[in-house]
C-alpha cells in the first residue's frame, strides 16, 4: 500500500494537501499498484488515465469549472511524489508527460475550443499526448531546433524530425515545437498539437531502451505535414518562452518523483539488509553498511529539502530558477546513486531482470538525461546566479 511518510513538512504541505495525498495514494493503490512492474512492456495508458479520472485525481492543479479540481499545485506535488513511489519508471514517466507536461501547457495556452475539444477529453483518457521537442541536434539545448512551420492560408506546413519521443507510437496528439521563419530568437517558436493521422506525419519504429520499457519511444518525421491553424497553441513566436518556463516547473515535479523513487528504493534495500545475514548477523548491523545507508539518507534529505523549498517558491510565485535546477540535479543523481547501491547491496539475485532493484536501476538512469540533463542544470545554476 502506498503511504506518504513525511518526516518533515514544509509550510505549503497543509492538512488539506496531505488529505489529497491520501486520496491520491488510495487511487494509485487501486489503479496502478496491481499492474506496476518494470517488466511490463505495454500499458493501456488511456484506460489508466480514465480510471484515475474516475478516482477524481486527474487535473488536480487546474482551477477552471470544466476540468479543474481546484486542488492547486500542492496537490499536484503530492501526485508527482506518489508517482515516484509506484515501482515502475515507465508509468511515472508516461503519466507525467501526459498530465504534468503537456496538459498544463494546453491548459495555459489553449483557447476555449481547444480546452473543450481536446484537453477535456485528454484528462478523461480519451486522448493521449506525447511531448515532441527533442531533435537529432537539439536535445537539452532546444534553441538548436530545425523543425520549421510555414503558414499557408488556414494551415501550417511542418517539416523536420523529432527524435526519441516518449509515447510517440501510441499518442493521439503530439505536442510539437517548431521554428517560424522570419522571426528572431527567442520569439521564433510556435507550439502545435498535431494529430497522429495528420497528413505527412510518420512515426518511426519502436526503439528499445535501457529502462522505462513500457513507455514506448520512437522518432516522428514531418514531411510537409499539414496542420490546421486551430491546432496552434498560443501565439506564434512564444513557443520557446513557454517551453522554458514549463521546463523550470517540470524539473521540480521530476525531482519530487525522483526523490520518492530513491526513498522507496532505499527502504527496500534496508528491508533486504535486515533480512539477510552475513557471519551470523543481519547486514544492516554492519557499521560500514549502516554508514552507507545513512549517507544516502542524508543525501536524500538534502535533495528533498531543495525540492520542497523550490516547490514552495513556485506556489508563492517567488524566484525559483536556481533551486529548480538544483533539485533536479541533486534528485537525478541521488536516484541514480541509490539504485546503484541497491544493486550492489542486493547481490546477484537482484541483478536479475525480475528484481525490483534492477528495474529501479534501469529506470532511474534516465533522470539525469531527460527533462534537461545534469549538465544543463549546472549551466542553468551558473546563469541564474550570474557567473
Amino acid at each position: 500500500m502506498l503511504e506518504s511518510n513525511h518526516s518533515i513538512t514544509p509550510q505549503w504541505m497543509s492538512q488539506d494537501c496531505l488529505a489529497w495525498s491520501k486520496r491520491i495514494n488510495n487511487g494509485f493503490d487501486e489503479v496502478l499498484m496491481p499492474i506496476a512492474t518494470s517488466n511490463v512492456t505495454k500499458y493501456d495508458y488511456k484506460g489508466i488515465i480514465k480510471a484515475l479520472h474516475d478516482k477524481g485525481i486527474t487535473g488536480l492543479r487546474f482551477d477552471d469549472e470544466r476540468d479543474g479540481l481546484k486542488a492547486g499545485l500542492p496537490a499536484q506535488a503530492m501526485f508527482a511524489e506518489a508517482l515516484g513511489r509506484v515501482p515502475c519508471g515507465a508509468l511515472g514517466m508516461s503519466l507525467t508527460i501526459h498530465l504534468d507536461m503537456v496538459a498544463p501547457m494546453v491548459h495555459q495556452l489553449g483557447n476555449t475550443r481547444q480546452l473543450k475539444d481536446i484537453l477535456h477529453h485528454a484528462l478523461r483518457g480519451r486522448f493521449l499526448f506525447s511531448h515532441a521537442v527533442t531533435e537529432p541536434n537539439a536535445g537539452s539545448d532546444i534553441r538548436m531546433m530545425k523543425t520549421t512551420a510555414v503558414k499557408k492560408g488556414d494551415e501550417w506546413i511542418i517539416n523536420g524530425t523529432k527524435k526519441m519521443i516518449s509515447l510517440a507510437p501510441i499518442a493521439d496528439y503530439h505536442f510539437v515545437l517548431a521554428t517560424v521563419e522570419g522571426k528572431a530568437p527567442p520569439f521564433n517558436m510556435v507550439a502545435f498539437l498535431i494529430p497522429k493521422h495528420a497528413p505527412g506525419v510518420v512515426v518511426g519504429p519502436l526503439q528499445r531502451t535501457l529502462g522505462n520499457q513500457a513507455c514506448p519511444v520512437a522518432d516522428i518525421e514531418f514531411h510537409n505535414a499539414k496542420v490546421s491553424d486551430s491546432l496552434r497553441l498560443g501565439q506564434a513566436g512564444m513557443g520557446f518562452i513557454l517551453q522554458m518556463q514549463q521546463f523550470v516547473q517540470e524539473r521540480i515535479l521530476s525531482s519530487l518523483r525522483a526523490n520518492e523513487m530513491a526513498k522507496s528504493c532505499l527502504s527496500e534495500i534496508i528491508k533486504h539488509l535486515k533480512a539477510r545475514e552475513v557471519a551470523g548477523k543481519p547486514i544492516a548491523q554492519i557499521d560500514s553498511i549502516r554508514h552507507r545507508i545513512a549517507h544516502l539518507t542524508a543525501e536524500l534529505y538534502q535533495s528533498q529539502s531543495a525540492t520542497y523549498v523550490a516547490m514552495g517558491r513556485w506556489i508563492n510565485d517567488d524566484d525559483y530558477d536556481s533551486l529548480s535546477a538544483t533539485c533536479k540535479l541533486l534528485s537525478s543523481r541521488l536516484a541514480k546513486q541509490v539504485t546503484r547501491e541497491a544493486m550492489q547491496l542486493g547481490g546477484v539475485g537482484h541483478y536479475q531482470n525480475a528484481s525490483v532493484f534492477s528495474g529501479y536501476f534501469r529506470d532511474a538512469r534516465l533522470l539525469s538525461i531527460s527533462t534537461g540533463s545534469d549538465e544543463m542544470m549546472l549551466k542553468s545554476i551558473a546563469s541564474s546566479e550570474q557567473y
Partner: protein, 372 residues
C-alpha cells in the same frame, strides 16, 4: 529564511564593523571577547531569539547571529560567541534552579562571565558514555576529579559546565552536570591548545579534589546525559547555521576568485569544467540552506527530528570541507599562502566539521533511526 527585523541586521553589522579591527589572526579571543559580548547584549543582539524574559521567542535571531559571525574574516569570534551564548549559557538558563546559577546566567549575558561547556575528555570524544571525570558527594559537598580536553572558550572561561560521572554503573543515568568556577581550588586551566585553526580558542583542564557546594549541581542528579542529548539537537542546528554562513562566504569568495583569475586567455569561471564545478558546489549550498530552513520551520512548530539534525550536520561537514578544499585549489599558489582567506578556511573548516559530534557519530544517529 532569516526574514527578520532589518534594524537587527543593520545593528549587528554595525557592532561587527566596530570590533573587526580587534580580530587579528592568531590573537587570543581573551583580549576582545568580553567587550564584544557586552556590546552585542547592550544592543539587544545577543539573545534576542531566546525565550522571554531574555528575548522575544524567535530563535531565528540566534541562527542569524551565528550565520553572520561565520562569514567574517576570522572564525574565532563566531565560534566563541556561539559556544558561550547558545551552547553553554542557554544550557545553564534552561536548567538553572537557584540564585547562584541565575546570577551566572545574568553575568554571562552581559559579558562579565565567559562560559564553556566541557564534555570531551582526552580519551572520550564523541562517545560520551566513556567519560571518566567524576563527582562524588563528600560531607554535603561535591568533590570533582578528572580532566577535559578540546573545550572551546576554556582557556579564558570564568566558569565551565562539566559533564561528570556520578555513578559507577554503565547507564545513561550515571552522569550529571556541574557548574565549575575556574578559580575554584584544585582547578587547573592549561594554556590554550596549539590548534590548527581558531587559535587560542580551545583548551583543557584538570580538576583535583575540587570541592563545590550543592548549588553547583546543574539540573537533576543523574540526568546530565539526557539533558545534553536534548540540547544537542539544538546545538547541531546552531553549528549548521555557522556552516551555512561559512559555506556562503566561501562560495562567493570562490566565485570572485574565479572571475578575477585568468588562465589561457579567459577568466577561470568561463572554463566549463570550472564553471560546472562551481555550479555543483552552489547546488549543494542551496540544498543545505533549504534543509536548514525546513528544520528551523519544524523547530518553530515544536520539534527538531534528531536524525534530520544529525544528517544535516553530516552534510554540512562534508560541504564545508569540500568548499574550502576547492577554494584553495582554484586560488592557485596564492591560496596556499598565509594571509589568504583560502589558507585560513582550509585550516578552520575541519574544526567546524567536528563541532557537535563527528561525521561518523552523525551517521550512526541517522542509521539508528533508518535501519531500526
Amino acid at each position: 529564511m532569516f526574514d527578520l527585523d532589518e534594524t537587527y541586521k543593520a545593528n549587528l553589522d554595525k557592532v561587527i564593523e566596530k570590533h573587526r579591527g580587534n580580530w587579528q589572526h592568531e590573537q587570543t579571543p581573551a583580549t576582545y571577547l568580553r567587550e564584544f559580548i557586552s556590546e552585542l547584549q547592550e544592543n539587544n543582539l545577543l539573545c534576542r531569539g531566546w525565550t522571554q524574559p531574555f528575548g522575544e521567542d524567535d530563535f531565528n535571531y540566534q541562527y542569524y547571529l551565528h550565520y553572520t559571525l561565520a562569514q567574517q574574516s576570522t572564525g574565532s569570534p563566531g565560534l566563541c560567541v556561539a559556544s558561550h551564548v547558545d551552547i553553554a549559557s542557554m544550557l545553564l538558563m534552561k536548567n538553572q534552579s537557584n540564585e547562584v546559577q541565575e546570577e551566572y546566567v545574568n553575568n554571562a549575558l552581559n559579558g562579565q562571565t565567559i562560559l564553556a561547556l566541557a564534555m570531551t575528555e582526552p580519551t572520550a570524544g564523541s562517545d560520551l558514555q566513556g567519560i571518566e571525570f567524576t563527582a562524588e558527594e563528600r560531607d554535603g559537598q561535591w568533590c570533582l576529579n578528572g580532566s577535559k580536553y578540546g573545550i572551546t572558550n576554556l582557556p579564558f572561561a570564568d566558569a565551565v559546565i562539566v559533564l561528570a560521572r556520578t555513578k559507577k554503573e554503565k547507564s545513561p543515568f550515571s552522569f550529571s552536570l556541574f557548574l565549575v568556577p575556574t578559580d575554584s581550588d584544585g582547578v587547573e586551566i592549561h594554556p590554550a591548545l596549539d590548534s590548527m585553526g581558531y587559535e587560542g580558542c580551545l583548551g583543557s583542564m584538570t580538576a583535583n579534589n575540587v570541592l563545590l557546594p550543592k548549588e553547583y549541581l546543574l539540573g537533576k542528579l543523574g540526568m546530565g546525559l539526557t539533558t545534553l542529548m536534548k540540547h544537542l539537537d539544538k546545538e547541531r542546528l546552531i553549528v549548521c547555521a555557522r556552516m551555512l554562513g561559512a559555506s556562503e562566504y566561501i562560495l562567493s569568495s570562490l566565485i570572485t576568485e574565479c572571475q578575477s583569475r585568468q588562465t589561457f586567455d579567459d577568466a577561470l569561471i568561463n572554463h566549463q569544467h570550472i564553471n560546472f564545478r562551481v555550479a555543483e558546489l552552489n547546488a549543494s549550498v542551496l540544498a543545505f540552506r533549504s534543509a536548514l530552513e525546513l528544520l528551523i520551520h519544524s523547530e518553530h512548530r515544536g520539534k527538531i527530528p534528531t536524525e534530520r539534525a544529525a544528517a544535516l550536520k553530516y552534510s554540512g561537514a562534508v560541504l564545508v570541507n569540500e568548499l574550502s578544499d576547492t577554494y584553495m585549489q582554484l586560488s592557485g599558489g596564492r591560496g596556499y599562502m598565509y594571509g589568504h582567506p583560502a589558507e585560513r578556511l582550509y585550516r578552520e573548516m575541519p574544526g567546524l566539521a567536528l563541532a557537535g559530534g563527528s561525521k561518523e557519530i552523525m551517521l550512526n544517529i541517522v542509521a539508528d533511526v533508518v535501519c531500526a
